[in-house]
Symmetry: C4
Subunit: 360 residues, 4 copies
């Protein structure tokens, strides 16, 4: 622990906004468009209150979560986010050390600025690898196989960003990737090579739509990939059902932290219907809007098996590198256990819809 550590999660957020340049703050913290979804994600949590139970026997309880074949000490997973060397010199390795220190599962972004093999070597709990579709089935599968060889145990395929969202803040800040930040794991991947648009043709429908995956591609990948795959970015119950039917390891309810389609529904608002659609046994994770330990509690009450957190980790990294990220994870874990005790829940199974009151 360094003297840079801050006492509260809110203090990390405030300090990170001050520490980051406006361009980096725009890149890492802002949302798409008018940031409607970014705000809605947090507002949805604010509209859920907890109805605690008291005086129950909580001895021997635990915050442990099962996610796939992993048993996690807490239902808290580091979300994938790109180019972490922009936040702290060690980049993804700092995050991996932080996650390992707190026993938190980490998801490495395919847009990592550090080689996946190096992160794995420094990150015993960095067991998941996130990727986007790589233009072709073969290129996508090759990336999956490399992740398997590197020792990752599951994959997270992000499906909600066939095109970038319109990120006003990032655009207005003039953000561009600085020298030295590269997606080093993707240097050999095929790049789309589009013919010029003809009269009346649409870049979206006549070019990009030809290289983005459809369900048949996903089914093929799920059949051929060497690792279980979670589909990230699901917001509609029918898509969740299709994902599970296609053989996904689980679904991650997400709107990409409000960074892709502005005005997409808040993740937490989408969660209950998705849990309903896939049944009690499917793996359902979520992200978007979690800032405090009690938010994890609320997400689990509304159907999540575990949650992913991105921005709080960014705050920790920006303020104090690995130690900051570790501290943020620890604060979230501690707050979550405190919330469990204060709400009278001995295990995650006790955290049910009856524990919360919805004001929406």
């Amino acid at each position: 622990m360094t003297e840079d550590l801050l006492p509260t999660l809110a203090a990390y957020e405030e300090a990170a906004r001050a520490a980051l340049s406006p361009r980096l703050a725009a890149y890492f913290l802002a949302g798409a468009g008018a940031e409607t979804t970014l705000a809605a994600n947090q507002e949805a949590f604010g509209q859920v209150s907890v109805i605690p139970r008291h005086l129950r026997d909580l001895r021997g309880g635990t915050a442990q979560a099962r996610v796939g074949n992993l048993r996690l000490s807490h239902p808290l997973i580091v979300a994938p986010f790109a180019y972490q060397t922009l936040l702290t010199p060690e980049g993804e390795i700092a995050t991996a050390k932080a996650a390992a220190a707190q026993g938190a599962l980490m998801t490495l972004s395919a847009q990592s600025a550090t080689l996946m093999e190096d992160v794995r070597a420094n990150g015993p709990s960095c067991l998941w690898f996130q990727l986007y579709w790589q233009t072709t089935r073969e290129a996508t599968l090759a990336l999956c196989q490399r992740a398997a060889w590197a020792g990752f145990q599951a994959l997270v395929l992000t499906i909600d960003a066939p095109v970038n969202g319109v990120r006003d803040a990032e655009i207005e800040s003039g953000f561009a990737l600085p020298n030295g930040a590269r997606a080093v794991n993707l240097t050999d991947q095929p790049q789309p090579n589009f013919a010029p648009l003809g009269e009346g043709e649409s870049a979206i429908f006549d070019r990009i739509a030809h290289i983005v995956p459809i369900w048949k591609d996903i089914e093929w990948l799920l059949d051929n990939a060497p690792l279980p795959i979670y589909l990230k970015g699901i917001l509609h119950p029918d898509d969740a059902a299709l994902a599970m039917k296609a053989g996904a390891a689980g679904v991650i309810v997400s709107n990409h932290g409000g960074r892709v389609l502005d005005c997409a529904i808040a993740s937490l608002r989408a969660l209950p219907a998705i849990r309903q659609a896939v049944g009690p046994n499917a793996m359902v994770l979520m992200d978007g809007g979690i800032r405090r330990g009690v938010d994890i509690f609320k997400a689990i009450a509304l159907g999540a098996d575990a949650v992913m957190v991105g921005r709080p980790v960014i705050h920790g990294l920006a303020v104090a590198g690995a130690a900051g990220a570790a501290h943020v994870l620890r604060l979230l874990q501690d707050e979550f256990e405190i919330a469990m005790m204060l709400a009278g829940c001995r295990t995650l199974a006790d955290i049910s819809p009856e524990c919360v009151h919805l004001n929406w």
Copy 2:
């Protein structure tokens, strides 16, 4: 493209407010009264969120819309607004060039500061002409016929402003039409010549009510006009049904951008019931509150065939003339296509009420 172009739609709005004099800002951008409806129009969009679908085959999709007998590249029409020479020297011709550059249908205001024939000559996509009732049936029909001779293909009759609204901002700013801005297409139209009010008489009910149209006049006009006519300003389902029954080409759900009856219901709130009332085949357009491409998506999901935009075009004109207006239209079109892809919609027919979640 000039160096004046700005990176985002929000930047255009902010810059336009700075570029316009307070009086012009009050005239072009403000609403009636306490601007309750102006705000409600946008708030209604904010209360709609999108539930995207993923991994669908979008190849060969299109944002094309059919409006009457026109096929538009996008369901985005330039709304009529008056005296555009106050915004940029070329006035309506600048807007017409911008619309043509982006393939957008433009509606010319009868209160154009430029002769309709000149705009038509410079505006291949300026195909609609908007007018108010001209005191008498004959004068109104004559204006319609002149528009037909000028090559316009449809008319938009605005019916929601038999009197002006009470525009506080405009009044307080001291706005008056400057020299050189005139409704040059209306110089020969008859002006009302009211007798002085007698004891107990009301200007509204005993004078103005005698020169404004009623349904019988509209039916006559629809029977006699040389062009199809859309009725603009409809907010009640029964009025929409009456319009279609009378032979209107379609209805335009609108509260005049919040500029006439302050406290009128938000256009988007009124839209679903109107679509319900007229059935799936009637042409239903809307305006009021659209600021981003995703707003077009929401309007279509709730029943519109296409939308009209006014203020965003004003922003573009005020900042950078024709180039600015063209850029704004392009940003809206691009954002709309991106929203379609991110929401998993291949054509406008895919954009249904199931794509959105209403928080009202």
Copy 3:
């Protein structure tokens, strides 16, 4: 008309706040407690939107209202408020002149700083007199009789203030009645003469409750008074029904402008149930929160026969005396007629609940 006249109702409000001393602003414009009800009155209007109808034949329409045996040019009555000489030297006479100039019925407050006979002599449309219960039946009746002799045609008995509310703003401003402002019509009225409180006695329940009226007193007064009496301050449907059953001329739905019981329900929220309770033929007035002509429309749509306005008249008086008050009344009347035309209503009977959409 003087050059002091302002262009909009909002401008009068802003200017009045600037023109009045903090103490007078606190006395005339503030509400009780945390001003929750004061705000709620206006918020309730903000939650009602109008769904206009178009193209109806409005010729020969009128804004006339029938209130008791009076036919008013508009459903707009000046509410009673005290000590008007604090606002403008002529005091109540200025208001009476303004009301007469606009043909508006005025209600004179019993706490007038001007003799009722003098106001009547200068106020042909000052036909209503407002009073509180005067400790005894006899004293109350005597005041009613004096009003009848003075030529008033109806009485308004305010029943919602058996004790003052807790007016924080007034208390904190240090307001006290300045020399020269006196309730000159009440100088001979009996004053309560309370015995000192004994151990465990309550000023409220053991003193004040003994001198405030109960339904039996009101029934007696209604039987004996020389004029019809409206009961002002009703918020509960059952009280409205009791009032009508007891023989009141009508009820005035009011929370005393948010000046007595802070947290009382907004008048407009209470109105529909009260109209429902008393049936279509009973006279139902309302006040509280009306700032624009369209607010009058909303109140009538939700069941009022006419409305009372206080603060807007105060604004006018404070800014420009009688001329200001007259101008404010005229702006309200004009805005109301404009709202009628824009909403497609030819008479007050057309203004029904179907004309509005409730967002509460």
Copy 4:
């Protein structure tokens, strides 16, 4: 009364915030976490409006409340809060004098900085003693017995804080108990002596959960304690029912003033279901969010027999010691009686759910 007394409850709050050091303000006035529950407590009151009745006979009415075997002059009890010597030199004795002066029941905190016997000796109306579970049954019972010997007549066992909440404001302020403020009544109580955590052990579930009480402990205490015990911190109807079944004297609906589990449901929101669960005869108190006399009225309307107030008393103490606290209590009592009269309620039994309108 000193010249320090302020005219309104709001003035006391504002002045207290100015008078207290940031650290003391953080300790006494802030809430846990993001202060969501602190705000929600007050917002819930803001969403309740009163529908007054008029012209009823209120002679001989009273604000008296029965709580257990006590008859209180008002349904207003001083809530327990710790270390009052930090607010005013006399500490709890100042509060006790204030409570006695206004005839208000006071609850002494076990974390009193003054010996309970000394407070009792100076506080004829300080009849309740609040405590937390003291690690063991025996230690808890011993504390209860000492309170009984000291003359307290009932106990309040706070059950909602088995661990502290995460109090950001307090943490960030750097608050630590200054020298001289000690929980002098607890000096002999056993302190938990935890073994170091082993691999994978949780401080919450493997240590703290072993020393906090469960229902069996409470049942034992209720069977053996020399005084009736109220359980404080109940928010779930089932816990309320369990408490009454176990023999509690009553339940206190509370979220600890938003100071423990941030995001816990607002007390007032939880109240109606709890009254419903325990039936009309059980004693149900509440605290959290009461700032004005009318708030007491609302709480009673929604099911409370009486309320506890903490922060307003803190405001009074911080501004003007015992006199300030007494004045605050008096203002609350007076405002409550005024609200009763204005709402037409002669006794607490008249204050029913029909008296309020819920906007939630």
